[in-house]
Symmetry: C2
Subunit: 194 residues, 2 copies
């Protein structure tokens, strides 16, 4: 759903993370922003009681720490939940670039607006009660004009995004396929039938 190519302007550094690798820690000074290209990163807040609250699970295509963009310290930690590829952007230089270049400033706002639209869209889809209809709406959103779709994430990630138990997603997909509404050339590839 996202096209981060515009981010190339910000001179990103590619990173590779193994599971449990830490991207940044709560309280540290903000140095970078990150775009997740592949994998899954958990944002965790350590409470005083020692509990770890999962604030967010960021998946491929998401930008993290944009909330920290204007803050001096990270207010949560980021830990890879899977082997992941991340683009890292130096925050200060990005901030300077944005401030000094109206052009770049617009680009940045585009990215933000894009995220907002995506989140709203997902929110609306999650208001659909029926698992089958919800899944169908999501596939429709992601598919190209031919109705084809190669999922860029695991089915479990998709289930998470849709707010479904993964078992429920599997069953919904089976039913959709059985009723002929979709075809599955591969596990994570789909074709929507009119």
């Amino acid at each position: 759903m996202n096209d981060w190519s515009a981010c190339l302007k910000f001179n990103p550094k590619p990173l590779r993370l193994k599971k449990t690798d830490t991207l940044f820690k709560q309280g540290e000074q903000v140095q970078n922003m990150h775009l997740i290209q592949q994998g899954r990163v958990k944002l965790i807040r350590h409470s005083l009681a020692g509990e770890n609250i999962v604030l967010h699970v960021a998946t491929a295509g998401e930008m993290i720490a944009e909330a920290s963009f204007f803050s001096e310290n990270y207010h949560c930690s980021a830990v890879a939940d899977q082997p992941s590829k991340v683009l890292s952007i130096d925050r200060d230089s990005a901030l300077n670039t944005i401030i000094n270049s109206p052009q770049t400033s617009q680009t940045a706002m585009h990215l933000f607006a894009q995220q907002i639209r995506d989140l709203r869209g997902l929110h609306e889809i999650r208001n659909i009660r029926s698992a089958e209809q919800r899944v169908l709406a999501y596939l429709n959103k992601l598919a190209n004009e031919k109705g084809e779709l190669q999922l860029e994430m695991s089915l479990q990630d998709m289930a998470y995004k849709l707010g479904l138990a993964h078992e429920t997603l599997y069953r919904a997909l089976s039913k959709l396929e059985a009723s002929g509404k979709i075809q599955r050339p591969a596990t994570t590839a789909f074709i929507l039938v009119v």
Copy 2:
């Protein structure tokens, strides 16, 4: 959750809408952005088949048309679903202001980042399966440091945001009150008990 005071820089015009009043129509040229202060506005897309798809229901505190910020035409219509108060900001002047003033540019990005954080937070709360726990998490998020909270929307709106049937929300609130976890001085006022 939002503080739009920063928007005063953009010289907003206050509007009042009755139910069914149209804020803007799909296809029209984008002229304004809007902040909803009170009420509820539906974003509707008119499909070729003549169906009206509800893209989003925006409630108090939300900014709409920021997706259209960089687009020439509205790609959906906005209709008041309730008597509403809206702040209207001239899009071109806002755009100019933002482009020419690094300071204002940052303000705008703050607003966007804020929206993203809010949406993510809501998303995470909606991953909580139990209605009771979900409601409690939401109340916690909205309450002040004393645990007090005056809801700025109807319970039905809250149910919508949480992805619950309103009946389910009523029941969850009753149970929370019965078990002593919250108190309700008024229908839409709450006190969280430790």
